[in-house]
Amino acid sequence: MSSIVETIAMCVERGKVNKTSPYPPDLKGQDGADELTAQALADKVPANDILTKGLMIGMGKVGGKFSRNEVFVPDLLMAAKAMTAAMKHLKPYFESGEAKHRGTFVVGTVQGDLHDIGKNLVSMVMEGGGFEVIDLGVDVSPEKFMKAVEEHPGCAVGLSALLTMTMVNMEKTVKLIKEKCPSTKILVGGAPLTEEFCRKIGADSYSPDPQGALDYLSTVYA
């Protein structure tokens, strides 16, 4: 018989949010990540175990499937919804220090660019990977990114761009952060980006998908 933490991982992986959710059809009427997380905490399962052995495992599995094109955006979004439903129960434990994030990930779409779908997907996967996500939104200036880096020492930064014309602002942002805080790891992504461009502007990692970004940060925060 699987433990409640393993069942939570399964619910996240399969996008089972709560009991009322009709998805996935074969789990209709059963408890989801929401109820099971509340139950696990009531049963005195450590919050950090729920995070690391339940939510992170579930998101890791669905993220891996996404990378291998075994599941698609709808499945990833449902997994993120399930994870969010669980995380609301864990919030007090993060505040008390009983549960700990692996690190902080500051993310935003660079100045001049308003596109947010890719950034949001990365944010969801990072949160599911155990990181505290500070989402600065869209059209974020280099100075605003820098301010967030100063407010969150040791954080990593994710920069997103859709438009070729805003890639220059990505370069400016990387330059400013690396000048003032050279040890900050900077990840870049977005439709027009390439590994070559990442290296050219001095960023640390490029990934075409959210799981690749999480895999990179997992090595940094190992």
Binding site: N69, M78, D139, L163, T164, A191, P208
Partner: protein, 361 residues
């Protein structure tokens, strides 16, 4: 073979039958034409179709926003952006200074109940949804220039997400697929009803062009199975409608949609446009795998164009055109739109060199 008109050329290209040369067409970001006009390369009011001798002309005459009489409401404004509530109840932030995809801030419709209350009752085939005059004028201009004239508009994927956003639309496909199917059926019927009205009064175009962005970086939004279950029935209905009237269909999709191409072919589409290289699309691979069943438009990496280096542009054209012209089913076009970083002379060279390489005579 003598020189063909644009109409003859595109008609044959869509059937992969002999032509005098490959076709040529393009899309531009709005800022590009402004810049080239300011630089004196294009005359104010001169069309890109006329200036570059394109083989196609499009007209987008339908307005499918739910509340036609709703005046978009500016909720918040800065020096650079505007946050606007539109007639679909969507709250979108747009850049004022340059072209950009808007930020999706909020949507009134996030589930079936809101769709049924706020949107569906308003989606009626009202004549006010059709810009008859624009269609008539564009059709006349295309006929004068002997260009292939296509009705253009969006299909269901591109009609749904402005109403409920990508996230609600995509999760809805799993949680409440009947809601999403109701949206696709409603928009399909509305499109066909409006086409009936327009075409019966103003005459048919030479073809139909659907914009339908179903992919992003290296992935389609949905699997081929989900495409077949939820989206393809609407594609089939709209394509069948057009083909029953002798109108070939071109479908545009940004992003990586290679896994969906078998389904797009099953739906009856004649030509796939725009083959976005930076998203992972591979024109030569698609031509190899599907060139016997599908024509192509695009697939020339726009990042090459904004190097503004003729040797680099020539390499891109030389690597692709001699191969994809082999079965007469290709139209020269960038892999998305020409941004204003591309110099006028670079683009002019792109067209001239492309036409040299694409000549069959």
């Amino acid at each position: 073979m003598s020189e063909m008109t644009g109409v003859e050329r595109i008609q044959n290209i869509l059937k992969r039958q002999p032509v005098d040369r490959i076709g040529v067409f393009e899309h531009f970001w709005g800022d590009t034409q402004k810049k080239w006009v300011a630089e004196g390369h294009i005359q104010p009011g001169e069309s890109m179709e006329d200036h570059f001798g394109y083989d196609l002309q499009l007209c987008w005459p339908f307005n499918l926003v739910a509340r036609l009489n709703f005046t978009p409401e500016v909720v918040e404004e800065t020096d650079e952006t505007q946050l606007v509530r539109d007639g679909n109840g969507a709250l979108l932030r747009r850049h004022k200074l340059h072209d950009a995809t808007p930020e999706h801030v909020d949507f009134l419709v996030q589930d079936r109940a809101a769709w049924e209350e706020h949107i569906k009752p308003f989606l009626t085939p009202d004549r006010a949804r059709i810009n008859f005059e624009a269609y008539r004028e564009a059709r006349r201009r295309a006929a004068d220039a002997q260009r292939f004239f296509a009705w253009s508009g969006v299909n269901v994927f591109e009609l749904m997400h402005p109403v409920c956003g990508h996230q609600h639309m995509l999760t809805g496909m799993l949680v409440d697929p009947d809601w999403i199917k109701d949206m696709t059926n409603t928009y399909t019927q509305l499109t066909l009803d409006l086409m009936d009205i327009l075409f019966s009064e103003e005459g048919y175009p030479d073809g139909v062009w659907f914009y339908e962005d179903m992919g992003f970086k290296e992935r389609p939004f949905v699997s081929l199975d989900m495409y077949r279950e939820i989206i393809q029935p609407s594609h089939r209905r709209t394509v069948d409608y057009a083909r029953a009237k002798g109108l070939p269909v071109i479908m545009h999709s940004c992003g990586y949609v290679a896994p969906l191409v078998p389904g797009i072919i099953e739906a009856g589409v004649d030509c796939l446009q725009v083959i976005e290289v930076k998203a992972g699309m591979d024109l030569l691979g698609l031509f190899r795998d599907f060139g016997d069943r599908l024509s192509f438009m695009g697939g020339m990496d726009v990042r090459v164009l904004y190097t503004n280096d003729r040797a680099t542009i020539n390499r891109e054209l030389t690597a692709k055109i001699p191969e994809v012209k082999r079965n007469f089913g290709y139209v020269l076009h960038s892999d998305h739109s020409i941004p204003d970083q591309v110099d006028y002379e670079s683009y002019r060279y792109f067209v001239q060199r492309g036409m040299e390489l694409g000549n069959y005579r």
